[in-house]
Amino acid sequence: MSLASRYIYALSFAIAAVGFLWPFWPLCIIGILIAALSGRYVFVIIMALLLDLGSGVPTGLLHYLFVPFTVLAIAASLLRVFGGAYFLDKTPPDTL
């Protein structure tokens, strides 16, 4: 595991945990987005499932999502998988 990965895992988990304990749910979303958009799919979905277990079944319109944090994590992960290729160029040209 690279140092960057360690930082991303720790940072995203810490942000989500603070958002859960504070409680201030936007921080949970930020934590999930950081982990998902940086490509830590397994980690983010497990973390989102834990957040959903802790937060309980949502009310109102979110009730239909049932596990909104997990849905967000999956959506962000899919965005990263299918959209990342258009934004993250892994073979930068040497010359313009």
Binding site: L21, Y41, V42, I45, I46, L49, L50, D52, L53, G54, G56, V57, F66, V67, T70, I74, A85, Y86, D89, K90, T91
Partner: protein
């Protein structure tokens, strides 16, 4: 065109995706027991988090919330009692109430009295009981003017009245001024801080609450100190129970 770079093998990716989907399905299907397990593990952390914000203000807010809930419960019981009295044909018991604003209150008025803005023109009569709200009785009308009346609180110095401690033990309560009262009961009487002193009868009402108990070894009597059901210095409105 962007070129996707897959990992070393697509098999672990597919396996991982299947495991994740299974995990999500598992959580969806067994949410309740899994939530229970989660909170079993997370409870110490959440309690620690709660202890970080446990200040005197938060404790007082919690007490206020409890008192508000208890007050709502009491109001519901009061309505239920009134309803039962009505069903049992005792509608004559609760007197007509006249709402009055407090013009002067201790310490601005002397001798633990209140001056209220309802008088004989409103139907107030000498001797009417005065309530601080619902069943809390605080005094009696001692002087009546055309548009005002003076209320002598039960805590006024020298005022004595007969009442029942906890609804059973007869006591002679004597006012001491400043919203406090005193009485003596025989040693061995079961009494504790917070007990109530009530007027006898169905329409009795609470006249005082025990604030301190002075029990000395070897003495024949226990000294009991009481306060009015409401702080007279903070009263804004009272209800005069018109005798019919």
């Amino acid at each position: 065109m962007p070129r996707r770079q897959h990992g070393r093998s697509s098999f672990p990716f597919a396996l991982g995706a299947m495991v994740l989907v299974a995990l999500v399905v598992l959580v969806v299907l067994f949410r309740t027991p899994l939530s229970g397990m989660f909170w079993l593990a997370a409870a110490p952390v959440v309690e620690w988090r709660q202890s970080l914000g446990a200040t005197e203000a938060t404790a007082l807010r919690a007490q206020l919330a409890e008192a508000t809930a208890a007050l709502a419960d009491r109001d519901a019981l009061y309505r239920e009692v009134a309803d039962l009295r009505e069903r049992l044909g005792r509608t004559d018991v609760p007197a007509t109430r006249i709402l009055a604003a407090v013009l002067m209150r201790p310490p601005w008025s002397a001798y633990d009295t209140l001056l209220v803005d309802a008088g004989s023109s409103h139907g107030v009569a000498l001797g009417d009981l005065v309530s601080a709200g619902q069943s809390g009785i605080i005094g009696r009308v001692s002087e009546v003017y055309a548009a005002q009346a003076r209320v002598e609180l039960f805590s006024a110095p020298g005022v004595t009245y007969q009442a029942l401690l906890n609804g059973t033990v007869p006591v002679a309560v004597e006012g001491q001024g400043g919203g406090s009262m005193h009485t003596d009961v025989p040693a061995g009487t079961i009494v504790a801080v917070g007990d109530t002193v009530e007027f006898p009868g169905l329409a009795g009402g609470i006249a005082a609450a025990v604030s301190a108990v002075d029990a000395k070894m070897g003495e024949s009597f226990i000294g009991i100190y009481m306060t009015l059901p409401a702080n007279p210095a903070e009263l804004a409105r009272v209800e005069i129970l018109r005798q019919q």
